[in-house]
């Protein structure tokens, strides 16, 4: 068994999770799922912060991660409120049908 985990495993895991988040954002068609992919991306980044905090033995990484969490929570609240409004106005939750911001 490996004695200790090298740091780059954590970072690679974070990168893979981020990639999965992007995949979800691009390929999913429901607005709520897209939103969840955004949360996944944010989490991946949080992992990176904490990892580097461990590497540099500096507590500031934890604090950045904390702020990211706070902002993500606020964003989730507002975003879901917006989704509710969109559903009320258009009656659909498919991303491809919400395309009126065009020239």
């Amino acid at each position: 068994m490996i004695e200790h985990i090298p740091i780059w495993w954590y970072l690679t895991l974070s990168a893979v999770l981020f990639g999965l988040g992007v995949a979800g954002f691009i390929y999913r068609k429901s607005v709520i799922t897209v939103f969840m992919s955004i949360e996944l991306m944010l989490n991946a980044v949080n992992l990176t912060f904490v990892t580097f905090s461990y590497q540099n033995k500096n507590i500031d990484g934890h604090i950045y991660s904390f702020f990211v969490m706070v902002v993500a929570a606020a964003e989730a609240a507002v975003g879901l409120a917006i989704i509710l409004t969109i559903f009320k106005n258009r009656g659909t939750l498919q991303i491809d049908e919400i395309d009126s911001m065009k020239l």
């Binding site: 985990i5 990168a15 934890h62 991660s65 904390f66």
Partner: protein
């Protein structure tokens, strides 16, 4: 011991992430997201960030995901249907994605980390616990961002209330 925990948490995280992307119904995706967050909390514990791990579980798992599930229930979101719009995304998305992950992995691998601490050990590396250390920094060096974030939350609350209330007829 910690390597086994890492393997378990990592596999769980990636598995739930794949599930999130591949499932058809939003509720399944939401539950997979909860799984991802839990595994990440475990990973934080492995990295000695117990305060962050707890905050993750409480804030994300306990509040944000509950909100998501409530909204899915409220809107009665159904399974997704096929769509043939957004061709560019469907075609170019996968290659770009692959390039992204490969690039990131390459960059990570090529970066010369100081070999002394490229190994992770289980257990807290902050003497006295990370909560105390975070608290000390938060209210001295990061006081201003802390206050600003408080205002941000207030605004988010107001925004959510305004957006989501019923129209008064």
């Amino acid at each position: 011991m910690d390597s086994i925990l890492f393997i378990i948490a990592a596999v769980a995280a990636i598995g739930c992430g794949l599930n999130l992307v591949l499932q058809k119904h939003p509720i399944s995706s939401a539950l997979s997201l909860i799984g991802v967050m839990s595994s990440l909390a475990l990973l934080y514990l492995l990295l000695g960030a117990e305060f962050i791990a707890m905050a993750q579980m409480i804030v994300y798992g306990g509040a944000v995901m509950v909100l998501f599930i409530f909204v899915i229930m409220l809107l009665n979101a159904g399974a997704e249907k096929r769509s043939d719009k957004s061709l560019f995304a469907q075609i170019a998305g996968f290659p770009l994605l692959a390039v992204l992950v490969v690039l990131l992995a390459f960059l990570i691998r090529e970066t010369p980390f100081p070999s002394k601490i490229s190994q992770v050990q289980f257990g807290s590396w902050v003497p006295g616990g990370s909560a105390e250390a975070i608290g000390m920094q938060l209210f001295s060096k990061f006081l201003y961002p802390f206050e600003v974030v408080s205002v941000l939350i207030l605004i988010a609350i107001l925004g959510a209330v305004v957006l989501a209330r019923k129209e008064i007829d």
